[in-house]
Subunit: 348 residues, 2 copies
């Protein structure tokens, strides 16, 4: 087969969402695949990773990265198979970690930005999950900013997700107590399986009281990836010198305006002052240089030893990406959300 | 004279303020002074330091230190003269840094918590100002948390006060640009005398626009001791990786309720996330062990070389302390606010 025999199905951003992303914000089309030029490779997407940060890219509001332009392919991390290579480092059949976005094929330059994956050492899907960006976000944020000490208490929300589940298990490995917060009884049960010391359902009417009971000595590290009502409940429980790494605010990504008053900003600042809190936003890139290598070694080892478990929520077919993504923002996924765009032949 | 010949005038907290502290929150009384017991010293207050943190002590709200109880002497740092000593390390005529509160005499245990002052090396009043707690708050917070780099921009409000003026001058010494914010033309003029690169009046109707012009490359460190409208103006100007040491929120100390909506807390969190900000509350005590010695050496040297200037606002007579303190919370002071309780015989 020639590259030009393949058809690329791709999903473009057709309009910016007002609040929750809906079908009409996306445009699905199919086009011919071009031949790779010298130095390029043709990739077939096996897995597309869906992650909350993508909501930011759909918006034109100023953020740490440029937005996806209207008419462009939606951005996203992918696990791809090399179909045809005109680059000496890659051969057909290789699997690579790539960033091809929401499409089934892509022609991209070869080079170090494509990391080759060994299906023998770990399932290839983990390259965008527990051994990839979400896992590293948890690892770097918790260790570099949260810095949990033996006997301290670490809390995290969206705790069955790829970031939260790593945060809690890593806290346990470091000798801290882990409080996991999730939505729904099945997720709470899974948190207990993962070894969290306490597992709370934020939908419970007495969630605030449960949190107080679960953290009798207060909270030393809150890994913030949610915001909203969970953060409101956490703030009064934070101890002096508590650390709050902030890597996401998924409860607010669909906000179309600031919530109604009263204005709690001065209350937050007062808590920061009177409890000598550290609130620190971060994007994982900042820590790649100092932490990525140890992350890969540590987490691969902990998966092998059973100290780190992970769960994937796999949706089949690229067409289902928009709906799955909307669900991710409201907590409908259960585990790391992936779209299996083409069958994963390596799966055992 | 015997100790019992002296009369101690003291100011008690008689009720907790609702909003601004007023005369009826204080009770002034005069009582006999007791003889010091073995190991104790009788101190005469020369200077009482008035500082914004005292507003917190008047309130029963949870904070980093216990409140002053109703009927107790108002707390405060003092510069005192030893009148009579029954402790081997102290003799009548010694000057000491002490924490006797709002009163003209006090009998206290001798010991290392009373630091002897040398009137020959620096005016004794500086022990509660530029060479004392406020100066150290600025020094430790700016260096340990703000960590300004050559060519970066540092902003501070209440910039003619003892903390703010040190922050700005120290930023300049470290090679950063210093933006000072104060209320009123005379204060702004003084900031220019101190060598601030930019001096802004937060009362100007176009303050936000002025701030934007004054920080064309954005703000890398904002030393937060005020809160309120200045913070609102600073937040959108903060650069990626900006640091915000928070040591005070004087604009909010008299708040009786949270401000009206919208609720800006999620906006603040979003800024923290998208700009990888560090917001860090602190109380100077935390840094005494690592920074106090170099602080004393550095600042004494910079005062001698003229690189650090300071200004004092001295009110005479303990009776005037309540009114002066209320004025401090609304920016009526101009420089480090002190009450000269008894004449300073060392002043040249």
């Amino acid at each position: 087969m020639n590259a030009t025999d393949y058809q690329n199905t791709r999903i473009l951003l057709s309009s910016r969402p007002e609040g929750e992303p809906i079908a009409k914000n996306f445009h699905i089309e199919t086009i011919d695949v071009q031949e790779p030029a010298e130095g390029e490779v043709l990739l077939r997407t096996i897995y597309l990773s869906l992650d909350p940060y993508m909501r930011g890219r759909m918006s034109s509001a100023k953020s740490y990265a440029a937005p996806v332009e209207i008419g462009d392919v939606m951005e996203g991390g992918t696990v791809s198979e090399v179909v045809e290579s005109r680059h000496p480092d890659f051969a057909a059949g290789n699997f690579v970690l790539s960033h091809c976005g929401w499409q089934s094929y892509a022609v991209v330059p070869g080079g170090r930005h494509l990391r080759k994956l060994d299906p023998g050492s770990a399932p290839i899907s983990t390259a965008v999950g527990v051994l990839g960006m979400p896992g590293f976000t948890a690892y770097a944020g918790l260790l570099a900013i949260g810095n949990p000490q033996q006997g301290e208490t670490v809390a995290v929300a969206a705790a069955t997700g790829p970031v939260g589940s790593m945060v809690g298990q890593l806290a346990r490995i470091k000798g801290a107590n882990a409080i996991g917060i999730a939505g729904g009884a099945d997720k709470v049960a899974f948190l207990r399986e993962l070894g969290f010391d306490e597992a709370l359902d934020h939908r419970s009417p007495d969630f605030k009281a449960q949190l107080k009971d679960a953290a009798p000595k207060g909270i030393d590290v809150y890994f913030e990836n949610v915001g909203g009502a969970v953060w409101d409940a956490i703030l009064p429980r934070l101890n002096t010198y508590a650390r709050v790494p902030v890597c996401g605010l998924v409860a607010h990504y669909n906000d179309t305006q600031m919530p109604a008053g009263p204005d709690q900003m001065s209350k937050l600042m007062r808590n920061i002052l009177t409890k000598s809190l550290t609130i620190r936003g971060f994007i994982q890139n900042e820590f790649v240089k100092d932490y990525y290598k140890t992350f890969q070694q540590d987490v691969a080892g902990w998966i092998a030893s059973g100290q780190i478990k992970y769960r994937e929520d796999i949706v089949t077919g690229l067409d289902n990406a928009p709906e799955a993504f909307a669900g991710l923002l409201t907590g409908k996924n259960f585990g790391k959300l992936l779209v299996e765009v083409a069958p994963d032949s390596t799966r055992v």
